[in-house]
Amino acid sequence: MSLLKICQWINDTGPATALRESEIAFPIVESIHVLAITLMAGTVSIVDLRLLGIVLKKEPVSQVAGQVLPLTWTGFAVMAISGAMLSAAEAVKLYTNPAYRIKLVLLVLAGLNPMIFHSTVYKSVSAWNDWPRPPVRARVAAICSLTLWTAIIVSGRAIAYYH
């Protein structure tokens, strides 16, 4: 069962077809996906800027991360659900779309980055919690995060340009 056949099957299901041919639902789902970028990438950027020692330097890192990341996670859930719906509706078209494939790869990397960060350098956060400028490994993680989310947004937008 090839991946293309799976995409075709998903594409042809009732819900996916209904969304693809809808008058209002698709515009709404796509708009939620675009506007929720603020909730997901916008909020995590500010945590990254704290890790880089650029903003909120007087606020402890654990406070900024602890209070803002739940917003990021909520945003990620919204992006994942709306993204899955859009992907299902356009499954066949997206199968051959290079920007979409790149976006998926980047999403995996974007997931790995915080996992690595939280299990390594963030474990010692109490030692550098009040530093205006956190240790270099935290700053590297922040740059990776900012770069990855920027690239994901760019590749997501580029999807429309390949058909």
């Binding site: 969304l19 693809r20 041919e21 809808s22 008058e23 209002i24 698709f26 515009p27 796509e30 509706a89 290079p98 920007a99 790149i102 980047l106 990397l109 980055n113 590297v140 740059i143 990776c144 770069t147 990855l148 920027t150 690239a151 760019v154 590749s155 580029a158 429309a160 340009y161 390949y162 058909h163």
Partner: protein, 138 residues
């Protein structure tokens, strides 16, 4: 870690040189100076978001049948302009006014579609002087 940064930098650079068929910028894919009117039989309808596509068989000046694609708005916008999915039947003769694709392919950005019963649906900006525009110029 460094490998990741390098890969990302490479991607972002690569994307900028990859030839883009920038279809969300009308003017990047379609030629605003090449208006055309096509008359042909409907062979296929792609009633989908974000854009719909209608394919018609058009007889060229040599008498050959050539299949053309007409890009239209999504189902929501079409419906608001008076066109519903069921209005189009395979085999119907349609008159489509639009702009030709810049790459010379058999694709147009459809502006006005005239159905067999005489009804027509206009998708352009009133007064922009484009194909199918009947609003007096201001």
């Amino acid at each position: 870690m460094k490998l990741k940064i390098a890969a990302i930098a490479l991607f972002v650079t690569g994307l900028s040189v990859y030839p883009l068929s920038a279809h969300h910028s009308f003017a990047a894919e379609f030629d605003g100076s090449k208006a055309v009117r096509l008359v042909g039989k409907l062979t296929k309808v792609d009633w989908s978001n974000p854009h719909s596509y209608f394919y018609i068989d058009v007889k060229d000046d040599k008498g050959q049948i050539v299949n053309w694609g007409c890009e239209g708005a999504g189902p929501g916008a079409l419906s608001r302009r008076g066109l519903k999915k069921g209005d189009l039947k395979i085999g119907d003769t349609l008159v489509v006014d639009g702009y030709r694709a810049k790459d010379g392919s058999h694709l147009i950005d459809a502006r006005r579609v005239t159905l067999p019963d005489g009804r027509n649906i206009y998708g352009g900006t009133p007064g922009d002087g484009g194909p199918g525009d009947t609003t007096p110029q201001q």
